[in-house]
């Protein structure tokens, strides 16, 4: 019923999610191989954001399985097949392996950029402060913000904040990174710097699942593009195929609406 392929980092199988009576996800499955960059696209309300939030259990699911590195994520199966949520401590432990970047950055406003990055490695992984600081400075350099270490988030631009947020997630040395519309809240002129950092990350072989409206990024960086529509995965394939020869009529309809606005990446 599920693959035990060692190269699979994320396996989501038949995910069902509803808010009350409203079905958001109607059985979405996705497998992500190590080093693969998967871009989720689809109209607003298609469930793509909800789907990646389900992967690291920021949303509870009503049905389906999630595995990260082959380990079931957050849920244990009862003998009768029903799911029971795992303990808070176990879920917290499992979340360490998945980095998440949010649309609204969600940096800790009472900490400097550097403190934001070392917080979880010290508090959660128990790494020594010296070691965490060294790694953090290296990550800040990687995202091009070595000179902003002591700045508080309120003193940084949106693009800079998002790059700090990416560094913060990377500080946990995650197996995979989830990006939830990382450039949607940014001023147009700072979108490029964030996409550039993400592109570098992809080139370094990070496993990534990206929800975005940046079709240029999808076309250029994605190994695979996945199209969601009304809570269902309607089509997936390499970007050239999806963008030049989409097979599903709803994909064609969606792309015809967004492609005139493709921004250069």
């Amino acid at each position: 019923m599920h693959s035990t392929d060692q190269d699979l980092v994320i396996e989501a199988l038949d995910i069902h999610k509803a808010y009350g009576d409203v079905q958001i996800l109607k059985g979405v499955s996705l497998q992500v191989k190590r080093g693969e960059v998967v871009v989720l696209i689809g109209a607003s309300g298609s469930g793509k954001t909800t789907f990646i939030r389900c992967i690291n259990l920021l949303e509870e699911i009503q049905g389906g399985r999630i595995r990260v590195n082959g380990q079931p994520m957050g849920y244990r199966e009862r003998p009768d097949g029903s799911l029971v949520r795992d303990s808070e401590r176990n879920i917290a432990r499992q979340r360490r392996d998945i980095g998440m970047v949010f649309q609204r950055f969600n940096l800790f406003p009472h900490m400097t950029a550097l403190q934001n990055i070392i917080e979880a490695p010290i508090q959660v992984l128990g790494i020594s402060k010296a070691q965490a600081l060294e790694h953090a400075r290296q990550l800040l350099k990687q995202v091009g913000l070595a000179d902003k270490a002591d700045h508080y988030p309120s003193m940084l631009s949106g693009g800079q904040q998002q790059r700090v947020a990416i560094a913060r997630a990377l500080a946990m040395k995650p197996q995979a990174m989830l990006f939830d519309e990382p450039t949607s809240a940014l001023d147009p002129e700072t979108v490029g710097e964030v996409l550039q950092v993400m592109k570098q990350l992809a080139e370094q072989g990070m496993t990534m699942v990206v929800v975005t409206h940046e079709m240029g990024f999808a076309r250029e960086v994605a190994d695979r593009v996945v199209v969601l529509d009304q809570g269902e995965l309607i089509e997936q394939g390499p970007p050239e195929q999806i963008f030049s020869a989409p097979s599903h009529p709803r994909t064609r309809a969606f792309l015809s609406r967004v492609l005139p606005e493709v921004s250069a990446c």
């Binding site: 920021l58 808070e88 917290a92 432990r93 979340r95 360490r96 800790f108 400097t112 959660v124 508080y152």
Partner: protein
């Protein structure tokens, strides 16, 4: 007008030992009651935010009870009525180096219990004002609830809580006078005792008023220092939300 300047200046500038002890006691009661109130308030706020109706219910009841009855009645009830009913009697507590009288214990507990109800609402508002994205960021980094609260949420909530907390302590300083009814010799009761011997009521009550004014003014300076100290990192957004919440909580507290 019957006013003796000599007596006024004498009591204002050369307070007797009894009076100084009373001043000390007022401060001790206020600080300890406030500390108790903060602890109770935090626990109550976390219980209120738990989402579980069975955990919320006792807190709702507690807040309802404490805010719905006069503080003076609560003080007398806890110390005098419970003892008279044969339910509980506060005994003097001998710690070896200091004896804590029963009425002082009752005073601190009564004021602290009352304060806890108000602090619960303030802390609930402060914690609730922290953006949900902060919880998600913390959780996605693998933090457990305790770490998330201690490291991420409470430090941010604290900045929102400081202004109303300062107001609460100001009120607390003045409310300590109420425990004079159970015989705790703080500033008001000491003043009453001196006036009953000297009959200089006008002068002495003016002096006690000035002493309280001094205490609350000093606290006011400390409070603005606190606000500057804890608003530093995130000046722009924090000031805005702090102002908003200061006013909001102040609104909640009106009518006391």
């Amino acid at each position: 007008m019957n006013f003796n300047w000599d007596i006024f200046w004498q009591y204002l500038l050369q307070p007797s030992d009894v009076y100084l002890r009373a001043l000390w006691l007022t401060c001790v009661i206020a600080v300890l009651s406030m500390a108790l109130g903060c602890v109770l308030g935090l626990v109550a706020a976390l219980m209120r935010l738990s989402g579980n109706p069975f955990i919320q219910a006792p807190v709702r009841f507690y807040v309802w009870l404490m805010r719905g009855t006069p503080l003076l009645v609560q003080i007398v009830f806890l110390y005098t009525a419970l003892a008279a009913g044969g339910i509980f009697r506060f005994e003097d507590l001998d710690l070896g180096w200091v004896v804590i009288p029963g009425n002082l214990q009752a005073a601190i507990i009564a004021l602290g219990l009352n304060e806890g109800a108000y602090m619960a609402e303030i802390m609930r508002a402060g914690i609730a004002a922290v953006d949900k994205g902060q919880y998600e960021a913390g959780r996605s980094l693998g933090m457990t609830f305790g770490k998330l609260m201690r490291r991420i949420v409470l430090p941010q909530a604290f900045r929102i809580i400081v202004p109303p907390l300062g107001n609460e302590f100001n009120v607390m300083l003045k409310n300590t006078t109420l425990v004079s009814v159970i015989g705790v010799q703080e500033l008001l009761l000491s003043t009453q005792m001196i006036t009953s011997a000297t009959f200089r009521v006008f002068e002495l009550y003016l002096v006690v008023a000035i002493y309280f004014l001094l205490l609350t003014t000093l606290w006011g300076f400390f409070q603005s220092w606190l606000e500057r100290r804890f608003g530093q990192s995130d000046r722009r957004p924090a000031t805005a939300s702090r102002r908003l919440f200061g006013n909001y909580t102040a609104k909640l507290l009106r009518g006391r």
